[in-house]
Amino acid sequence: MKILVVEDDKTAGPYIAGGLREEGHSVDFLTHGQEGLVQAMAGSYDILIVDRMLPGIDGVSLVKTLRGAKNRVPILFLTALGGVDDRIEGLDAGADDYLVKPFVFGELRARIAALCRRPQLAEAPTSLRAHDLELDRLSRKVTRSGKTIDLLPREFALLEHLLRRKGRVQTRTMLLESVWDIHFDPLTNIVETHISRLRGKVDKDHNVQLIETVRGAGYRIIEE
């Protein structure tokens, strides 16, 4: 994938760029807001990673300008630690997702993967399947090997979220945000607990464990 990283921190920036290159992406790295904007307009990137604080043009203005120029490239917005309203500001400007610094690399990787496949999500079918598990989004019924599984509303939402992104890692933070609308970091292991409950209902007494834990990253539904 072709990625543009615009980050003014001269040490953190290269780390992100380097890490992404290690993953096999083609990465352009700039530190100046104005240069970033020009480069983003000129080059055809699969994804943009833009920091909130930038010299020249700040991140919010950069995103706004790009969107104003009808540039639809997926943008991941990086916000500083402790920024309560930076997130809303970034999303309001037109960014597709945001990430609070510091983040673990797995988080960045998962977000990038999610952003690049985002358009496919729109056409999600009413019936989601994985192996012998079936989830009907209209009747809100879940069955495995033909046997009905009773799920609580939030468990259903969690399973649906994972099934719609089958095979792709969803981090703890991504799940907290999408399923529970919690955009901060609670001390409690809300996601872990609910995943374990869900496993108890979905995977227990089955040979194939559909919900997989990806160490240091998150969870996913395995692909057949």
Partner: protein
């Protein structure tokens, strides 16, 4: 009238002082006035008495009864009864007088015109009369008190034309000036209140550098506020600098650890070490996030983004999210609301969620296994109350106030388990939402009440 003007404004010192001054002025004016009147009246009375005595003497000096009678008859025709009245009752014969009838008196007496029957000429309002024994009869001489009455009228006129308007003008001007002073004192007071409540941009309006005590106090308050704002700004700058200096290394460590964690060639022990380091880093990040967040919340900037948030739905969802967690630690969380409709609070959804999450986490951490946590919502005309109660050990009364106190926070954060910033963050968020936060005894346990005002 003056008293009524002052009464509801008694709290204002300038108004109170002006009121008192007007009262003292009125009182002293009246006293001076009264003394002057009495003194003058006394003098005139003395003069009158002397005149009367002289008249009496002019008659009593006539020893011959016939001469006296002749003189009296002549005087009865010539003397104006509005100036002087005399009545002579001889032992025998008709009364000689310039009036038809005059009351009998025993000594020096004031006689009103109503008691006198006039002959044909007009009388004065009041007379000073004295009886005397003369040759062949009894004589009463009365002198008009017109002078004294006139003097009274002059005094009344002076009072009405001179003193009363002065008093009115002085009161009006005085009260207006006092009100202006009151308003300026009030402006200083509100500014100080605003400054105390953290609005460091608040200033006393329209102060001029003139040699006037109130203006000077206003100027001093403004200078103090500017200095305070500068101090806060530089403190914030320092903490921002520290935060920024630490933010970057934390981020680098996190990224480095992430890269290491991503290595496929780590053995089990190495992987575990990295995993633990990642967990520790997450803890540092969380504490850091709370610290920075409190600072940002206290700056009040988030308030601009406030929207109506349904706290009922928010609470229900969070209770649902925490239910399995509570079950694992053998706790019971219940949710109760006095109505099924949405309950809207003007605020930030994430921050409000954080309040409840922190309170629930606090409960789960401090309430022993088997305990219960109740989340209750109630709405009245002007407020929405969110109460989280438990049957745990509670917080001692003395500690309760300290927990919410600003400076106690840092002390506490160093001594208590966790990062200890949970309740401080709750307090900061409540303050941002103008909500009243109280900790009370649930007997047993702790009840945390948050009362949100409903703004119409």
């Amino acid at each position: 009238m003056i008293v009524r003007l002052i009464a509801p404004e008694m709290r204002s010192t300038p108004l109170r002082l002006t009121g008192m001054l007007i009262l003292i002025f009125t009182f002293s004016s009246l006293v001076t006035f009264g003394i002057a009147y009495l003194f003058l009246r006394n003098t005139i009375d003395t003069v009158l008495e002397e005149q009367l005595n002289q008249s009496v003497v002019s008659y009593t000096s006539i020893k011959d009864a016939n001469d006296l009678e002749e003189r009296l008859i002549a005087d009865a025709k010539s003397v104006d009864p509005s100036v002087m009245i005399f009545t002579f009752e001889p032992t025998a014969g008709p009364t000689i007088s310039n009036v038809t009838s005059f009351p009998l008196i025993a000594g020096l007496t004031i006689v009103r015109d109503a008691d006198i029957v006039p002959a044909h000429r007009e009388l004065s309002d009041s007379y000073l009369a004295i009886p005397a024994q003369v040759a062949g009869g009894r004589l009463i001489v009365a002198q008009t008190r017109g002078q004294i009455i006139e003097m009274g009228e002059v005094f009344a006129a002076v009072f009405l034309i001179g003193l009363l308007p002065t008093l009115l003008i002085a009161s009006t001007v005085g009260l207006l000036a006092a009100r202006r002073a009151r308003d300026r004192v009030e402006a200083i007071r509100t500014t100080l209140l605003d400054l105390t409540h953290g609005t460091l941009t608040s200033r006393v309006p329209n102060v001029a550098d003139v040699p006037d005590d109130l203006e000077q106090i206003g100027l001093a308050v403004n200078r103090m506020a500017t200095a305070q704002a500068k101090t806060v700004a530089s403190l914030k700058q320092v903490s921002d600098d520290i935060a920024h200096d630490l933010k970057t290394p934390i981020q680098r460590v996190a990224i480095q650890l992430g890269r290491l964690q991503n290595r496929k060639n780590l053995d089990a022990e190495q992987a575990e070490i990295v995993e633990n380091a990642v967990i520790e880093t997450e803890g540092i990040v969380r504490t850091f996030q709370s610290l920075l967040q409190i600072a940002q919340i206290e700056s009040g900037r988030v308030k601009e983004r406030f929207v109506p948030v349904d706290v009922r739905q928010l609470s229900e969802n969070l209770v649902e999210a925490f239910t399995p967690i509570a079950e694992e630690s053998d706790h019971v969380i219940t949710f109760a609301s006095d109505q099924n409709d949405a309950m809207f609070v003007q605020g930030d959804r994430q921050l409000l969620s954080q309040v409840l999450v922190n309170l629930l986490e606090n409960g789960l951490r401090h309430v022993p296994s088997g305990g219960a946590i109740i989340v209750q919502l109630s709405q009245s005309n002007d407020h929405i109350e969110l109460a989280v109660s438990d049957d745990g050990p509670g917080v001692p009364t003395a500690e309760r106030e300290k927990v919410l106190r600003r400076l106690y926070r840092l002390e506490r954060s160093r001594t208590s388990e966790g990062n200890g910033l949970g309740l401080s963050l709750v307090a900061a968020i409540c303050e941002l939402h103008d909500a009243k936060l109280t900790l009370a005894d649930a007997m047993p346990g702790l009840i945390v009440r948050i009362v949100f005002p409903i703004k119409s």
